[in-house]
Amino acid sequence: MFEPDRSQYPVRRADGSCEIDLASGKYLKLWQGPNHPGITGNMSVELTVCGDEVVEGITHVGYLHRGFEKLMERRTFIQCFPIVCRICVPEPDFNEYLYAAAVEELAGIKAPEAARWIRTLILEMGRLNSYMMYLGGQAGALGLGVIGQWTTYARDLMLDRFEELTGARIYHMFILPGGVRDGLPEGFKARLEGTLCEVERVLKDVQEVMFQNAVFKKRTVGVGVIDPALFEPYGVTGPNARAGGVAKDVRKDQPYLVYPELDFEVPTATASDMFARADVRRRDVHLSVDLIRQIVAKMPDGGPYMARLPNVLHWKIPRGETYLRGECSRGEYGYYLVTDGSGYPRRVNVRGPSYTHAMALLERLIVGVNISDVAALMVSLHTYPPEIER
C-alpha cells in the first residue's frame, strides 16, 4: 500500500501555529459543520487536512448566540427563571437549579427539605437523559445507528416522566428560587421505577452491541487520548477527567443538595481515550439509576415545596456576588451571579463545561487525528455548543 511520507509538514512555528501553504497542493481546507451530522450542535470546525490526517482544526462558534446573559440584566430575578433553562437544551435543569441556588444564597432564602430532594431527583433524571443522548450520538458517529434509536426510546420514556412531573418535556421550568413548583404526582414513584427498569434493559443491549463491538473498540481504544497533564491547564472536568483517572466530581468534592445523604462512588477509568470516556458515561447512567432509586426511597413524603418569598414583582436583592457549581453530565456547570441591590441582576455569567472542552481542548486533540474520527472525537468530549453561547 502506498504510504506517503508526510512527516516533514506542516512546519510548526515557534508559537506552535502551523505554516500552511494551501497553494502547495499538500493541504486541503474542509469545514465540518455547522450543518453536518458529525458536529455536536451549532458550531463548526475549520479543518486543514494533509491526506486524511488533520493538521489543524480551528473551532468556530456564534451560530446560536441568544444573549441570555444580557437579557437577564434587564429582567427581574423571577423573570430570569424561565429563561435560564434554555441555555442548554439537552440538560436544562442545571441552569434552573444553579440560578435558583445563587439567588437564594444572595437573598438569604433556604429552600425547604422536600424541594431539595426533588431538585436532586430532577437533576439525576436529566443526567440520565443527557447520557442517553450521548450514547446514541457516540455510537452513531461510528456507524452504529441503531444504538441511537434505542437510547432515544429510553430517553423518551424519561421525558414522559418529566412531562408528568413538571408539565413539560424539555424545558421544565420547575426549579425556581425558593424551591420547586410542586411535589410528586400520585403513583409517580411506581411509574418512575418502571422507566428505570426499561432503561436498564436498554443499557444491557447497549453494553452488548456497542461496548462489545469490535468496530467500536477498534475505533475508540487509544484514540483521542487526553493527557492527564492537560486537565488543569485546559479546565477539563467531569467524565472527561474521570476517564483519565482523576475522580473529579462536584457531587463528591463539594457535595450539594442531598448528595451527602446518598451512598455512591463515581466511576473512573485510566486510559483517557474515547472508549474509556464512553465506558465511564455508561457506568454513570447505572449510577444515576441507583441514585434515583435511593432518592425515591429516602425522600420525605409531602411538602412544603416552596420557601416564603417576598413580593417577586418588587424583589430587590442586596449587593453581593457568588458562584455556585454542580456536576452535570459533562462536568462542572456553574453560575456566577452579581447583584447591586436593585431588582435586577447586575451580571449573570454561566460557566458550562463545553466552553473549555469544545474549543481550546478540541483544537489541541484534533491535530493528528484521522478525518473519519473527527466527529467521534467531538462527541466523545460530550459538548453542547448552546452553553458556549449564552
Binding site: 456564534g62 473529579k248 463539594q254 455569567n349
Partner: protein
C-alpha cells in the same frame, strides 16, 4: 481558607476581601499584581483550576470588574480575584500562558466588553459576533433597541403591540 487568605494578604496587603461562604472568597487585587497573585495561588496554594474569567460592567463608577475564579480541588474552595479597570482604558495583561483556556475567555471579553488583552492568541479575530459593526454589546450602555432600530428594518405587514395593553384588551374587552 483563613490561612490561605492571610498569606495572600501578607504578599499583597491592603486588599478588600469578601468572604461569601466558608469555601468562597473574593479578593480585590491591583491589575499589576494579578499575574503574581494568580501564580502564587496556582503554584503555592493549589488553586490550579481556572473556573472562569468574566467581567462586570460598573458603568456608574466608570469601571470594569474582571473576575478570575480559581479553584482548589484538594481543599474544595474557591478564590475570586477581582481586578478593577477604567472603562475608558480597558486593557489587561493576558493569562493565556498560565491557563491556555484563558485565551478563549479573553477573546469573548474582547468582543463582548471591548476589554483588550494584548498578546492573547486570536484576541482580535471574530469569535461569536461575525461581521459585528456596533459597540461591544455586553457593555451596560449598549442600547439593544436603539441598535436594532438603526440597523434593521421592520418587516412589512407585522405590527408590534405593547404586551400589557394587548393582554388587557384581550382579557377585558369591555373596558376598552
Amino acid at each position: 481558607m483563613d490561612k490561605i487568605l492571610a498569606r495572600l494578604e501578607e504578599r499583597f496587603p491592603g486588599r478588600a476581601t469578601t468572604r461569601q461562604r466558608p469555601d468562597l472568597a473574593f479578593v480585590t487585587i491591583e491589575a499589576a499584581w494579578l499575574r503574581e497573585a494568580a501564580l502564587h495561588l496556582r503554584d503555592r496554594e493549589g488553586f490550579t483550576h481556572l473556573v472562569l474569567l468574566t467581567a462586570v460592567d460598573w458603568l456608574e463608577a466608570g469601571q470594569f470588574q474582571l473576575t478570575y475564579l480559581l479553584h482548589n480541588r484538594a481543599r474544595a474552595c474557591d478564590i475570586g480575584l477581582r481586578v478593577m479597570l477604567a472603562r475608558d482604558a480597558a486593557t489587561m495583561e493576558s493569562i493565556h500562558d498560565l491557563w491556555p483556556t484563558g485565551a478563549t475567555y479573553q477573546r469573548e471579553l474582547r468582543e463582548m466588553f471591548g476589554i483588550d488583552f494584548p498578546g492573547s492568541p486570536r484576541v482580535d479575530a471574530e469569535f461569536i459576533l461575525e461581521g459585528w459593526i456596533g459597540p461591544p454589546p455586553y457593555r451596560r450602555d449598549f442600547d439593544t433597541l436603539a441598535f436594532a432600530e438603526s440597523n434593521f428594518r421592520h418587516r412589512e405587514g407585522r405590527e408590534t403591540r405593547d404586551p400589557a395593553a394587548h393582554m388587557k384588551h384581550k382579557l377585558y374587552p369591555e373596558k376598552g
